[in-house]
C-alpha cells in the first residue's frame, strides 16, 4: 500500500507541472486582421511583391508627412510632377483587460497567462489628383493586436508602428492593382493616326 499513494502524488505533481508549463504564454506575435479579398489564391500568387517595382507615374505630395508614406508613394514623389497626392492616416486604440480580481485569484496568471490585450486600428486614405480632378481614391484599414501578461507587454508605439506598416502595405497593393489605369489617364488619349 505504501508506494501507491506516493506514485499517485508524483503523477499529480507531474500533471500540475505539465499544466503550468502549458499555461505559460509564449511571446505572442502581432495579430494582423486578414484582409478580405475577392481574388483567388492563384491571382494573389501571380502578383509581384508590392514593394518590388516603382509606380509608372510621379506625383507631388500636397497633404501628408513625406516621412510617413506608403513605400510606393514615397518612391513616386517628384517636385515637378503633374499629379498630386494627399495622404491621411488615423489611429484608434482599443484594449481589453481581464478584471483584476479574477486574474489575481487565477493561478495561471502567475504562469504567464494573458491578462488582456491592446489593439490599434489604422485607417488610411490616399487620393490622386490630376489638376482639380480626383482620378483615384484608395482607403485601407488594418488592425493589430497583441496580448500581455504579468511578465511582458507590448508598447503602444510598437503596435502603432505595426498598424501603420500594415495599412501602408495595403494602400500599396491597391496602387499596384490600379497602376495601369492611372498611367493611361496621365498619358491622355492616344494620338490618332492621320489617313
Amino acid at each position: 500500500m505504501g508506494p501507491m499513494p506516493t506514485r499517485r502524488f508524483e503523477s499529480l505533481m507531474a500533471l500540475f507541472i505539465a499544466a503550468s508549463i502549458a499555461g505559460c504564454a509564449t511571446q505572442q506575435p502581432y495579430l494582423v486582421a486578414p484582409q478580405i479579398s475577392d481574388k483567388t489564391a492563384d491571382q494573389v500568387a501571380d502578383e509581384p511583391h508590392a514593394s518590388a517595382r516603382p509606380l509608372p507615374y510621379k506625383g507631388r505630395l500636397v497633404e501628408g508627412d513625406p516621412a510617413e508614406l506608403p513605400p510606393a508613394v514615397a518612391q513616386a514623389l517628384s517636385p515637378n510632377a503633374p499629379l498630386t497626392f494627399t495622404y491621411r492616416e488615423e489611429l484608434t486604440h482599443d484594449e481589453y483587460h481581464i478584471p483584476m480580481i479574477i486574474s489575481a485569484l487565477d493561478p495561471v496568471t502567475y504562469a504567464g497567462s494573458p491578462l488582456g490585450d491592446y489593439g490599434v486600428t489604422a485607417n488610411a486614405t490616399l487620393t490622386i489628383y490630376q489638376g482639380d480632378k480626383a482620378i483615384a481614391d484608395y482607403t485601407a484599414k488594418a488592425h493589430v493586436s497583441k496580448s500581455y501578461n504579468l511578465y511582458s507587454e507590448p508598447k503602444h508605439s510598437e503596435l502603432e508602428r505595426a498598424a501603420r506598416d500594415a495599412v501602408r502595405e495595403r494602400i500599396d497593393q491597391k496602387l499596384y492593382g490600379d497602376a495601369d489605369r492611372i498611367a493611361r489617364a496621365v498619358a491622355g488619349p492616344a494620338p490618332t493616326v492621320p489617313e
Binding site: 511582458s152 503602444h156 508605439s157 510598437e158
Partner: protein, 124 residues
C-alpha cells in the same frame, strides 16, 4: 480614509493656453486604489512629471512628433503625431511582479474630455 489620502488634490481640469506653434498632451490618471502608491515618471518630449491617482498633467511641447514614455518594471511608449494639436493619454497601473506596470493609453477626444473633467485635478 487611507485610500482617499493617496488621491491628488488640486485645481479642477483647465485647458492649457497654447501658442500658435505648440501642442498639448494631457496625461491623466483616474483614481484607483490599486497601485495608488506607484507614481512613475511620465516623460513627454523634454518634460517629465509624476502623476498620482486622480491627477493630470499638461505637457506643452512644440508642434511635431513627441514620444511619451513611462517605466517601472516594464515600459510603455506612445508616439504622438504632430496633428492634431491636442492629445489625451490615460495612465493606468496594472499588475506587476514586484511593482505595478504602467500603461499609457491614447484616448479619443470625446471620451477623454468627459473622463478628465470628472476624474482628475491638476498635479501640483
Amino acid at each position: 480614509m487611507i485610500a482617499a489620502g493617496c488621491a491628488v488634490t488640486g485645481r479642477p481640469f483647465e485647458k492649457a493656453s497654447l501658442r500658435s506653434n505648440d501642442q498639448v498632451i494631457y496625461v491623466y490618471r483616474p483614481y484607483s486604489y490599486f497601485g495608488s502608491l506607484v507614481k512613475p515618471s511620465v516623460t513627454c518630449g523634454e518634460d517629465t512629471a509624476r502623476i498620482g491617482p486622480g491627477g493630470y498633467h499638461a505637457f506643452v511641447e512644440p508642434a511635431g512628433k513627441v514620444l511619451c514614455s513611462v517605466e517601472t518594471e516594464t515600459a510603455d511608449e506612445v508616439e504622438i503625431p504632430a496633428d492634431p494639436r491636442v492629445h489625451y493619454i490615460r495612465e493606468e497601473i496594472g499588475w506587476g511582479t514586484m511593482i505595478g506596470h504602467p500603461h499609457l493609453n491614447p484616448i479619443d477626444h470625446d471620451l477623454a474630455q468627459s473622463e478628465i473633467q470628472s476624474c482628475c485635478v491638476a498635479e501640483p
